[in-house]
């Protein structure tokens, strides 16, 4: 296998692992917060439904965490196995957040074990809830630290290269690079948003599939509320991300927006197709839109792709990834806003079948937006693995067996994906809410119906 092939297969394998891992990682970051909110509401209102909601989410969460942990271990090792030259450099400059991440992960793992095995062990429920705080913190900080490493790849700082040697290394400067604030905030907030909408989709699905139990209605209302809040947060942070890109990675923004020539009063291009001479057709164009996104000023000048050598421009299909991510985000804000308004104003249609189907669809859609977002982030950095410092093609392994490993890992992810779905379905089928509420009712001897 020639080196070009090794680079190609390394890219495909990394992309496959990340695309699979991010599903479980996003759930892993977002769901602990949801469990915490449900348990907190349950304790405050003294409502068994919310407590049971937390408990059932926690049970499902363990399965997704298990897959998240093992695929996270896989990507952690693959970074060194597939990109050894990059990791040698990265180890010198950005190892600190990677190292911190293991501690966050450690902390989360310990308290998750305790939390799961101490239901009803404490007289005071609040003590049990306290155990969940380190789980949620550990999960969120894992995301923060890993995203810092990714931010560093986009905006490397904290070192100089003198005659091929790394000098003036400052691990803290490397961590607090310009890409870090928007990127970290965006990843964490969208994880919360996605977890909320995925759980909302499950609740809506149960309601569609015959159960009219108020338990699911409470779940739906709670998750849509949380989802709405974080979707607004995601939109605001997304706007800041646009401004970050305009200033620090203009080629990424320009490629995502098909902005070929540097102009002021730049228009925002939505969807469309590109002809061979890079002419945009069939697109929806919003005048001044890109200038506003880039600088909050309709007359601002926005750097176009004409300012960059051709071999340093990322592939232009990222335009679609970027657009689809934004569309889904906005759609979910709208959908949850309408649902909440409808609940408040008593609109009948928000409890109708078709509306609930839209909510069900929202779960996979939001997850898809996460995928689009990461593909955009990674492909949009091409050809660099470390912007302006190291190209992807220089970073890859020289090993000749990447293609066979790719096949093995694809099989693994298939087995894990199918396995986790089968187990989750079986787990909740065998023990439906109604039955569990009755059991608890019998056990506690008070009304928990």
């Amino acid at each position: 296998m020639g080196n070009e092939e090794a680079v190609f297969f390394s890219r495909v394998l990394t992309e496959t692992t990340l695309s699979f891992h991010i599903i479980y990682a996003t759930i892993g970051v977002g769901v602990p917060l949801m469990i915490m909110i449900a348990q907190w509401v349950g304790i405050r209102k003294n409502d068994e439904h919310y407590i049971l909601l937390a408990r059932r989410w926690a049970r499902g969460f363990v399965i997704t965490v298990a897959v998240g942990v093992v695929t996270g271990t896989a990507i952690g090792l693959q970074l060194s196995l597939l990109w050894p030259n990059f990791m040698e450099l990265a180890g010198n400059v950005i190892a600190l957040p990677l190292f911190m991440e293991t501690f966050a992960f450690f902390f989360e793992a310990i308290f998750l074990g305790i939390y799961l095995y101490t239901w009803d062990r404490f007289e005071n429920q609040k003590k049990h809830l306290l155990l969940l705080i380190p789980v949620a913190l550990g999960a969120a900080f894992s995301a923060v630290f890993i995203t810092i490493v990714n931010a560093f790849m986009n905006a490397p700082r904290g070192f100089d290269i003198l005659n091929g040697e790394l000098v003036n290394i400052s691990p803290l400067l490397a961590m607090f690079n310009p890409a870090m604030p928007t990127k970290v905030a965006h990843v964490v907030v969208t994880a919360f948003m996605t977890a909320a909408f995925v759980l909302a989709a499950i609740a809506a699905f149960r309601l569609l599939r015959g159960s009219d139990h108020v338990y699911h209605k409470k779940a739906l209302f709670l998750t849509m509320k949380v989802g709405f809040i974080f979707s607004i947060g995601a939109a605001i942070i997304g706007d800041f991300s646009g401004k970050y890109l305009a200033e620090y990675q203009p080629e990424k923004l320009a490629a995502a927006e098909w902005h070929f020539e540097t102009t002021d009063k730049a228009e925002l291009i939505l969807m469309g197709v590109l002809t061979e001479d890079n002419e945009v057709k069939y697109a929806l164009k919003i005048p001044y839109g890109l200038s506003i996104l880039a600088a909050n000023n309709p007359f601002a000048e926005v750097t176009g792709l004409d300012q960059f050598p051709e071999d340093e421009v990322p592939p232009l299909y990222i335009h679609y990834l970027f657009n689809l991510m934004v569309f889904i985000g906005m759609w979910m804000s709208l959908l949850s806003a309408v649902f909440l308004l409808g609940q408040w104003r008593g609109w009948k249609f928000v409890a109708s079948k078709w509306f609930r189907w839209l909510i069900v669809l929202g779960g996979p859609l939001t997850m898809l937006a996460i995928e689009f977002g990461w593909w955009f982030a990674e492909v949009g950095r091409q050809p660099w693995i470390l912007r302006d410092i190291m190209k992807v093609s220089e970073a890859a392994t020289t090993s000749g067996q990447v293609d066979s490993m790719l096949i093995l890992f694809c099989l693994l992810y298939f087995v894990l994906g199918v396995g986790s779905i089968v187990v989750l379905r079986r787990m909740f089928r065998r023990n439906p809410v109604e039955k569990e509420l009755e059991d608890r009712h019998a056990m506690k001897g008070r009304d928990v119906r």
């Binding site: 180890g91 190892a95 490993m405 093995l408």
Partner: protein, 341 residues
Amino acid sequence: MNLEILGITVLWTFLFGYIMVGAIDFGAGFFNAYSLITGKQRVLTKVIQRYLSPVWEITNVFLVFFFVGIIGFFPKTAFYYGTTLLVPVSFGVILLAIRGSYYAFETYGSRGHKGYSFMYGLAGLLIPASLSIVLTISEGGFIELVDGNPVLDYWKLFTSPLTWSIVVLSISATLYISAVFLTWYANKARDTEAAGLLRRYALTWSLPTMIAAGGIIYELKKYQPEHYNNIQNFWPMFLISFLLFVGTVFLLYTKRQYGWAFTMLAGQFAFAFYGYGASHYPYLLYPYLTIYDSFTNPAMAISLIVVFILGLCLLIPSLILVMRLFLFDKDYVRGKGDYHA
């Protein structure tokens, strides 16, 4: 003590931690699957699952800590080991993934699912075998530089008796460590039937472990005389290790003091492991990589150590809490009260 030695000592300690908790974990999974075949699951499954359940995820973290730490402290290892270990470590990762997820599927999803139990039991046993190959490679001679890039010679690796002695040691040590620990745990749970069976497993695997360990030293003499000579300088550590081994077997044989038996076993492996590590010094990979020429810059080293100390302040109390709740809590160990979500 310089920063290089401090760094490698920290990492070596975490690797030791992983080997111990991992061995207990993987061995337990295997004994559980084995008891399904031999129809003894009634005796073993309960006590094994009682121990395993709350801690499985913690085990994995020790490994992650080690490989992230070694890239941080010794970035050059990414180049040498990263390039050459693609296949063996990928196999290890796949086994780890099967083991971790199917364990969770069985425990939380479908209790008693036989297929899942076999899958994670077997995967667990193969993990030490596949990961231990890294130790073999570190002895040198299997990696050559071709056009400045390290290349692993698979044929040489898999026909070397050293490789296979290390593989045998990793498997038998896994079963031995696990059986000794579980004997103690079952005894604490006042489950005499399980303790009796596990004690037999422990005695069965004690001798193969020692023979395999001796075999490795013999192979090293032929294979890497430099390392072999260094081992001679550390003979007191290996002697103490051997005496502790004798002590463990004696206590097990006479059915006394299982807690001390396990403590001595931990001591046996600690002395052997640190003795091996110290005699490997200063090489991370014979003859290309020492801890000095692969060490990171001082700024990174110091910040890693600061983070490490802060992290420990967070971790040690948490680990103590886990142990008090699950390992040393009599009611939990004896299975009174099930508080699982």
